[in-house]
């Protein structure tokens, strides 16, 4: 199959790259593995939460923070994408979210500080409206509300942790739990099951009234796990918040991420319905390179390898989530060029024992040129018409610095520009 530009991936970087190409009137094909890396992530768009892996002081102004980062580290992926890449990519994404019917807020000028499911403050830049009321820069008291039998969100833990770090007085944070109608606490249920149930008006009203009764007082805001609807179009959040009678905010829980599902499914539909071809396939692999250019890549389709022949390629793989990069015991070898991306004598070298320390595996990826082409050890491009975006770029830890979304947007946008010029 032939295309002008082939984009491989399923996360934010792939979506932004594809949208950029489509907006520019180019014929892009998006090859995705049937799920999105957004299913496994926090699904807010974090541009820069911490300036490096050692500091605990959150960045207040992400755009200024990125500018400083670029000045300090001229080889950082943000420097390669450029501040302009971040700005243009963000504008494109915000417009797209609006066009696809999302209600989001935030801008590059400032970060919000939102409580996580374990009650730690987390800086995020762009967030859905349904999370914004959690902003810890506001002073009103918080009630964390959990559901009996749903173990992915423990309100007592969130309340106890937050009351220590937030410091708005003794009674500013508390936890409650309610019993959900039609969910037996002894049964196994997930956030996906809950999210489906919340799309039902009767169920939702009953939950809202139980929460209202349980809280009893005025002047508080209510944090609940992010389960307010699986598809965006039912507008579950605003009805529910009105029914609860307090400001409500959602808190992302363990994967699969309901917020990520909502975001990806809607954008995917939107892009597909706008006429972009999407190939739902097993991972792409095998770049056929001659004279320094990638001529074809191959899809593991049913029965045979399916060649995709494009003028340029954007590899917007998100770490190992979309199945393209697989680690062996010692090495991680990329599936397109068979370059060793990392080698460890012992597999344990890839991880730090503490979950809360920087993880070496997080920064494994392609070395890239200043034009985001994948490169060999000596910095020579492996193929002149291939460009890497998102988490597959080596040398940064998107989780530790809370910059996954911003880097996906900036590099996705920039890689698309490079692909068009190639």
């Amino acid at each position: 199959m032939k295309a002008d530009i082939a984009v491989v991936g399923s996360g934010l970087a792939a979506l932004v790259a594809t949208r950029t190409l489509h907006q520019a009137g180019r014929n892009a094909v998006l090859i995705w593995p049937g799920l999105s890396s957004l299913y496994f992530t926090y699904a807010t768009i974090d541009v820069l939460g911490y300036s490096d892996l050692t500091t605990t002081r959150p960045v207040e102004q992400p755009e200024a923070g990125v500018a400083q980062l670029i000045a300090d580290h001229p080889d950082h992926p943000y420097a390669l994408a450029g501040l302009e890449g971040l700005r243009s990519g963000t504008t494109l994404l915000i417009e797209w979210l609006r066009a696809a019917g999302f209600a989001w807020q935030g801008d590059l000028g400032r970060n919000l500080l939102l409580p996580t499911a374990i009650g730690t403050p987390k800086p995020s830049c762009l967030v859905p409206d349904s999370m914004a009321a959690g902003d810890l820069r506001r002073d009103d008291p918080i009630v964390f509300c959990g559901f009996h039998g749903y173990e992915d969100f423990v309100p007592e833990l969130a309340a106890s942790n937050l009351s220590r770090s937030w410091g708005r007085g003794e009674h500013s944070v508390r936890a409650v739990r309610i019993t959900l109608p039609s969910f037996e606490p002894g049964n196994l249920f997930t956030s996906i099951d809950l999210a489906r149930s919340f799309e039902d008006t009767t169920f939702r009203r009953e939950v809202a009234s139980r929460i209202r009764r349980e809280i009893g007082v005025d002047g508080v805001r209510v944090g609940i796990p992010a389960v307010l609807g699986l598809t965006h179009d039912t507008d579950v959040y605003s009805s529910f918040a009105a029914e609860v009678g307090h400001p409500v905010f959602e808190i992302p829980t363990l994967p699969p991420s309901v917020l990520g599902l909502r975001l990806f499914d809607r954008l995917r539909k939107h892009i597909q319905e706008s006429g972009v071809e999407m190939i739902w396939a097993a991972p792409a692999h095998e770049a056929e390179v001659s004279d320094g250019q990638c001529r074809r890549i191959f899809l593991k389709s049913a029965g045979r390898e399916q060649p995709i022949e494009a003028r340029a390629y954007v590899l917007a793989l998100e770490d190992t989530v979309d199945g393209a990069l697989r680690a062996g015991v010692h090495s991680m070898v990329d599936p397109f060029f068979h370059e060793a991306l990392a080698h460890h004598e012992m597999p344990t070298e890839r991880t730090d024992e503490s979950l809360f320390k920087p993880q070496p595996y997080a920064s494994i990826g392609y070395r890239v040129t200043r034009r985001l082409q994948p490169s060999d050890d000596a910095g020579r491009p492996l193929a002149g018409n291939v460009f890497v975006a998102g988490g597959a770029i080596a040398g940064y830890d998107p989780v530790g610095t809370k910059s996954r979304g911003g880097l996906a947007i900036a590099t996705g946008y920039r890689a698309a520009q490079e692909a068009m010029a190639a």
Binding site: M1, I192, R196, I279, A282, R304, G323, V329, V333, H343
Partner: protein
């Protein structure tokens, strides 16, 4: 050095026990159309890889809940670790049927071709019966096929017999083999005629090797031995064709059986070589187009069309070639509807206890189809078309029907 080491150690866990590749990420459950529509289904993750870890050849199979898997395979195309989730479910279900015996319904629905031969021979009577409320009530009580489910109409003249009388073109560039499948043979001969006409218009001679049912109705009705019997026979006959002859299928699921499931699920010898030569008809026409060999002298077809991609087409991993093809035709206004599975999944939605569930799964699609108000809904798969007609009350057609119209064969 790296190579040596990786050869020794890498990924050994997954090679020896592929089920261990499941990381329990739950992506499969989120895309499963059945799990989305009912809370009595425990989902592909639990019934597939998680249960698989406890299954053993020596022990009697535990089959509770397995029948709710409709076989759409969306879990498998979604799995980031390429775990063959649905195959585990099918194998366990099949083992259960071998140990505990099969129901009459499993026998009937698994023998589609036998049933269709009979239906076609007695076409007027069979069609009358399939629409007669009394017969349908009996059918529901005795066999377990829901009375509200419209059954396909049988045609007295089969495609096989039509093809025997069809004069072969004189000058052609090449010859392809057509795997028409039971549907074209007994229920929609016109589609087969259109496939032949389109290929011949492009200078391609079509032959139809003798063939059996592809076997998918048997697979999903717990009879893998029967499916393997059919499949082996098909593989044997298709292997006798010249090695460079392409094989065309116009049914999405038949094509997927030939391309993939014969070799992997049914483990039929020689199936991989055959599968590598199988093409979906739209995939093939698009390949011709990219090679500059497709006649694109199309007449305008001024129609508002809605395209629904069948789940099994997603398993082909070829994108949606029908949409590319249709956009070449002047006058066609094509929109894609992306509301997931239609719910019928072959014989799944025919079963008395699954009918309501099947309609619920498809409800989002039905709503979207009704809202779009197009002239026709296009889908490559025949049971998707049946379901859309039934659930949304719309007209439907194979995308090939539009290509045929554009060539003046409407």
């Amino acid at each position: 050095m790296i190579t040596e080491e990786t050869e020794t150690f890498s990924d050994t866990v997954e090679e020896e026990a592929p089920v261990e590749a499941c990381t329990k990420c739950t992506a499969c459950n989120t895309v499963c159309p059945v799990a989305r529509s009912t809370d009595i289904f425990r989902g592909p993750k639990f019934l597939g890889p998680e249960s698989e870890r406890y299954r053993s050849h020596q022990e009697t199979a535990v089959t509770a809940g397995l029948d709710l898997c409709s076989g759409c395979k969306l879990c498998e195309v979604t799995c980031p670790s390429q775990v063959t989730i649905q195959e585990y479910i099918r194998r366990a279900q099949n083992k259960g049927a071998e140990e505990g015996g099969r129901t009459l319904r499993e026998w009937v629905l698994g023998h589609t071709r036998l049933l269709s031969t009979f239906g076609s021979m007695t076409a007027p009577l069979a069609n009358f019966g399939n629409r007669n409320p009394l017969v349908r009530m009996l059918m529901e009580k005795v066999v377990g096929i829901h009375r509200k489910r419209p059954l396909p109409r049988y045609q007295w003249l089969t495609f096989e017999r039509w093809m025997k009388r069809h004069p072969r073109p004189r000058q052609t560039r090449r010859t392809v083999a057509y795997f028409y499948g039971c549907w074209v043979n007994y229920n929609e001969r016109r589609l087969g005629e259109q496939v032949v006409a389109i290929l011949e218009r492009n200078g391609i001679d079509v032959i139809v090797p003798k063939q059996k049912c592809c076997g998918i109705p048997a697979v999903v009705n717990s009879n893998m031995d029967l499916a393997r019997k059919y499949g082996s026979e098909n593989v044997r006959r298709l292997s006798e064709l010249p090695a460079d002859m392409d094989i065309i299928a116009s049914s999405t699921s038949c094509g997927l059986m030939l391309k993939h499931d014969y070799a992997h699920l049914l483990e039929i010898n020689g199936a991989e070589k055959v599968g590598a030569r199988v093409y979906d008809i739209c995939e093939y026409l698009w390949m011709l187009h990219e090679a500059g060999e497709l006649d694109v002298d199309f007449q305008p077809v001024p129609m508002r069309l809605l395209y629904h991609a069948p789940c099994h087409l997603k398993s082909h991993g070829i994108g949606y070639p029908a949409t590319r093809l249709l956009r070449l035709i002047p006058g066609v206004h094509l929109e894609e509807v992306d509301e997931g599975c239609c719910g019928i999944s072959g014989t799944f939605g025919m079963k008395v206890e699954k009918y309501d569930l099947s309609m619920k799964i498809g409800s989002r699609l039905f709503e979207a189809v009704k809202a779009a108000g197009s002239d026709s809904v296009l889908a490559d798969c025949e049971t998707c078309r049946m379901q859309v007609e039934h659930g949304a009350g719309s007209r439907s057609a194979h995308p090939i029907d539009i290509v045929a119209r554009a060539y003046g064969h409407g």
